[in-house]
């Protein structure tokens, strides 16, 4: 039996979450004695196999097909399901990215197996796998079992350590039948610019109602750019129309776990804390000394963000240049 990791590429580049899932796959393969296989799919992506070799998989299966040039849930899930049917693996891992979170369940339904999404820890013990997955956006953490023979799981971004390993095996071609996609992609609009994607970012700077208006988000953006960080938002700022919902952190937005989360003018409502409470370090900047964010912040700055944030940006530029 094997552990299969389904790699994710975008525009011919492998995503960081793939290395995280692959490193975890390697650790679990060592614990369980399974072989580790990685599946990568797309069009004109055969060259990615070399980069995947750095993570020590026993086999790298490549599906290089023009029908996969544009990502659709249906086609990518069909290829993954075909590979699962061929390999009959004990465990299939994908990153819990935008694509992974929709391809995995579609493939799971196709092969009729159990899937546990958004895991923060996976263990192999007494011949079975145990999965930890936060529920209620992190207000509780559940431990799950998935009945085999095939189990599927997705790994939360920014949680599993990336480790390179030697000893990669052969690169093989996999050529399943690819059904025609019913969905046609007519345009792709990348809006993030040079900033990292929110769920993958090491540092996030977020703004809330304390900003007072949408124009003050410029302060947060400047701070983020000084740190190479992503920009997040509280629900209050999104509901006020100051920021797009794609930036919202919290129970009805994105759940993030960066190394550093800087909350500016965010009071710290329970649904926001649920979305960022697993950050390694939290900085709260708020003029209200009673703000709930100070109960969770490692460093709480009591002060007016309109003064503190620009001063912090200037100091960081000086220190990091």
């Amino acid at each position: 039996m094997s552990i299969v990791v389904c790699a994710e590429q975008r525009d011919g580049k492998l995503r960081k979450i793939t290395f995280e899932a692959l490193s975890e796959g390697k650790r679990l393969a060592a614990a369980s004695g399974e072989t580790l296989k990685v599946l990568v799919m797309g069009s004109g992506i055969a060259g990615l196999a070399d980069e995947l070799k750095k993570y020590g998989a026993d086999e790298i299966a490549v599906v290089d097909n023009e029908a996969l040039a544009s990502y659709t849930i249906e086609t990518y899930a069909a290829v993954l399901a075909a590979y699962i049917e061929q390999e009959n693996p004990a465990l299939v891992l994908l990153g819990h990215s935008g694509a992974g979170r929709e391809v995995a369940p579609r493939a799971a339904a196709r092969v009729d197996c159990g899937l546990i999404s958004d895991c923060i820890e996976i263990q192999f013990a007494d011949g079975d796998y145990l999965f930890k997955h936060p529920v209620y956006a992190g207000k509780a953490i559940g431990t799950f079992k998935v009945a085999g023979p095939v189990r599927m799981a997705t790994t939360r971004p920014n949680v599993f350590a990336i480790e390179e390993s030697a000893g990669a095996g052969a690169v093989v071609e996999f050529s399943p039948e690819i059904p025609p996609a019913k969905v046609t992609v007519t345009a792709v609009n990348m809006s993030g610019g040079d900033r990292p994607e929110l769920t993958e970012a090491d540092i996030i700077c977020s703004g809330g109602r304390g900003l007072g208006g949408p124009e003050a988000f410029a302060l947060i953006e400047e701070l983020a750019d000084a740190l190479g960080a992503a920009v997040g938002s509280s629900r209050a700022a999104v509901d006020a129309g100051w920021r797009d919902h794609s930036a919202q952190v919290g129970q009805t937005g994105k759940v993030v776990s960066p190394n550093l989360y800087i909350a500016c003018g965010i009071s710290g409502a329970i649904q926001h804390l649920a979305g960022m409470g697993s950050s390694k370090y939290i900085v709260g900047i708020n003029k209200d000394p009673e703000a709930n964010i100070f109960n969770v912040a490692d460093y709480g700055v009591e002060g007016d963000l309109h003064k503190v944030v620009p001063a912090l940006t200037a100091k960081l530029k000086e220190e990091l240049s």
Partner: protein, 265 residues
């Protein structure tokens, strides 16, 4: 191209804990629902709203469907009060511990056998309880439908559907034929509140209950493959250092802590 004729619009919904709810672990090591306020899953509100708006533009009827226990009737009545025409509850003790696979399987049976002839299905892109976001994709696969997921804008016209959906770092525009499944994201629409007449009318709208037997399914068919064996509360965070004083001093201290103590910059 000919215009689409809409006959039946479906919204699949779930009743969840209120997002403001505090979570407690019961004596059995599982999450307790005692005293928790139950609501319509916030993302499903967008799905129901879009279903009603589609009916207002295109005609047809709106059917809301859920898998749940007796209490889930309240969530269905709420949807009926918003303006849905009728509701279906799949209620069976064998579904008490249903996983996403079992829910998708039951919904697929309702849709293919009891409610065949639907034109479009709306769901929330995920539920805020388990947060696994599996049912839309699983249901689309079981019904062999195109899936427009995490949708922030939806239009019908020229015999097809078009949508804008969120992807990591941006958005994409897609086209697809009907029937199809649409997973609603916040921003898709402004959700209405039920009006008083709406609430009164909802009491008389049909709400049908189905068991697994009605769907030709057995308890074995829906036995959970994914099982939560225990739950714990996350380690509580402690309040750390409070920095007060002149802005320049506070900022210098913060940068020093981030560099030397936290080592995150």
């Amino acid at each position: 191209m000919k215009e689409v004729t809409i006959v039946k619009i479906v919204a699949c919904i779930k009743q969840t804990f209120d997002t403001e709810a505090k979570i407690a672990i019961g004596g059995d090591g599982q999450i307790s629902d005692e005293g928790v306020n139950l609501i319509l899953n916030p993302y499903d509100e967008f799905a129901v709203e879009e279903a009603i708006q589609t009916k207002e533009k295109e005609g047809g009827e709106v059917v809301v469907i859920t898998v749940g226990g007796d209490k889930a009737q309240e969530a269905l009545r709420y949807c009926l009060a918003m303006g849905a025409d009728r509701a279906v509850l799949v209620n069976d003790p064998a579904l008490a511990k249903a996983d996403s696979r079992a829910v998708a399987l039951a919904l697929a049976k309702v849709l293919s056998e009891k409610e065949a002839g639907f034109d479009i299905i709306f769901t929330g892109k995920e539920a805020v309880d388990d947060g696994v976001a599996q049912v839309p994709a699983q249901l689309a696969e079981r019904l062999d439908l195109p899936l427009a997921n995490v949708v922030t804008s939806f239009t019908l016209g020229d015999g097809k559907a078009t949508a804008t959906r969120e992807i990591d770092g941006g958005s994409e525009d897609i086209e697809f034929p009907l029937p199809a499944l649409v997973g609603a994201q916040k921003g898709l629409n402004e959700v209405r509140y039920p009006s008083l007449p709406g609430i009164m009318k909802a009491k008389r709208k049909p709400l049908d209950a189905l068991t697994l037997a009605d769907l030709g399914l057995s308890a074995d068919d829906v036995a959970a493959k994914v099982e939560m064996i225990s739950a714990e509360l996350p380690p509580a965070r402690q309040a750390g250092q409070r920095l007060t004083g002149e802005v320049d001093e506070v900022v210098a201290k913060l940068v020093q802590l981030l560099k030397d103590e936290a080592k995150v910059i």
